[in-house]
Amino acid sequence: MKSGSNLEKVLVHGDFAVTGELGPPQSNDREVIVKKAKAYKGYVDAVNITDNQTAIVRMSSIAACAIVAGLGLDPVMQMTCRDRNRIAMQSDILGASALGIKNILCLTGDHQSFGNHPTSKNVYDIDSIQLISMVKGMRDDKKFLNGEEMKSEPRMFIGAAANPFADPFEYRVVRLAKKVAAGADFIQTQAVFDVPRFKRWMEMVRDRGLHERVYILAGVIPVKSAGAMRYMKNDVPGMSVPDELVRRMEQASDPKEEGIRICVETILQLREIEGVSGIHLMPIMWESVAPIIVERAGLLPRPEY
């Protein structure tokens, strides 16, 4: 075991993993975290906590992860390269490990122009691939990025993101290979709506044998309304949504139910794809739907180790 995290155990044992995303509040209210995390308990293997997503200031991922860990759940700490330099990142990784956090997801981070402080300065001292490599060096070689040795290593299960729907399409798998070579243990993909395109990407992944070197968790988003589906299609960079799904949401008498149905269908299709090791649920502002989806997708009970 590299980290001994619950997520790692589930994946190493060959179970189809389920993780759920949790967005911290724009306040210091720990009850928000507690409530959302409790809703996930028993339904997911790890809770993945965002790091100021879309560049909006929220409670830090590291603090929210510590709260979640205290509730007996396995947190995945997201870390973006936007807001910290290599000094702060290594410091936070050490701190996170000391707080019992065993999973990290290394991300580039949304540009600050999307958020509520668009006049801020971004950092990008290192990029996400360099971050993966840095965490691996800390864990496996007990070395800081500068080559200096540390006494005890942060044992992190290292995650990275992949977007099969961004461009240039043919380069996406090359980039995934770079992340795997840099030290990624698991991959979390952009939300999948366009299953055929995802399948084509997975073919390319398998051609390079990457599915055997890294656990791939396919992202899914339950969508509440036709408007939300259209938003995903038109306004979210790096997202591919088939027209058929927009039509289904528009014609549904109960759009919420239809959204759940689409999500469950997607999960069932993803599960059939060779090399997909699990799913990552991103119920944006709709965490309460997670148990329903996990149950209907036949993913209960969750394994215990």
Binding site: Q130, D167, P168
Partner: protein, 225 residues
């Protein structure tokens, strides 16, 4: 070249409030080529200031707004030529880049030197009337590894191992008006038959060669006297 842009006139007028004799100094080098602070622009700005002051009833025998232009504001010898004019003014409005303003401030001790431009970047005219940034002056060029397209200056996140997940249809997630630098790099490397080179991770950058280490110096021992 260095590309700059004139500050809003209102901001300039606020800056020179309270002074009576203004010398507008153009620069004959980069900012002339990018039409921000050359002889023509110095004349235009001086004229605008005179008219603005006239509207406020501030023109009179003790008031003077004049202009002059030097070959290069960032060299002592050229600044020497205007020392008398500078001495006769209350405040100097420099239409040079940030280097020009600072060179004048050092040359003319005790004189108020104000910037009339916002210095933007190192770049080139894409076409007439449009300039784009090409170089960030990071001090450690990587263009040999990126097909002659700079990810530091041209990627919104300065990624060395891009593109990020926000690249779509060749455009950056920040705006559809911005080309994704990594798409450009990918295309260029492909046309050069060098795609495999993009498979290797570029290591973390040595930013100490960037401006973060205080003002940088270039020394040529063979030329120092």
């Amino acid at each position: 070249m260095i590309v700059a842009e004139q500050k809003p006139v209102a901001e300039i007028l606020r800056m020179i409030e309270g002074y009576r004799k203004i010398l507008v100094v153009g620069c004959g080098t980069c900012v002339t080529v990018c039409m921000a602070g050359g002889e023509k622009e110095a004349g235009i700005l001086a004229s605008l200031i005179r008219m603005a002051w006239a509207r406020e009833g501030r023109l009179g025998p003790l008031i003077d707004v004049s202009e002059t232009t030097v070959e290069r504001q960032c060299e002592w010898e050229f600044l020497q030529e205007i020392s008398e004019k500078v001495a006769a003014s209350d405040a100097v409005l420099s239409m040079g880049c940030g280097a020009g303003v600072q060179a004048m401030a050092r040359m003319f001790e005790g004189k108020v030197i104000l910037p009339a431009l916002n210095t933007k970047f190192i770049g080139m005219p894409e076409r007439q009337g449009l300039w784009t940034e090409l170089c960030a002056g990071c001090g450690d060029c990587v263009l040999d590894r990126t097909g002659g397209i700079c990810p530091i200056a041209r990627c919104s996140k300065s990624l060395l191992n891009g593109p990020c997940g926000g690249s779509q249809n060749g455009k950056c997630e920040v705006s559809k008006d911005i080309d994704c630098a990594w798409q450009l790099i990918f295309d260029r490397m492909k046309s050069l038959g060098r795609l495999e080179a993009l498979g290797a991770m570029l290591p973390p950058k040595d930013w100490s060669k960037n401006r973060d280490g205080g003002p940088r110096k270039v020394v040529r021992e063979d030329m120092l006297l």
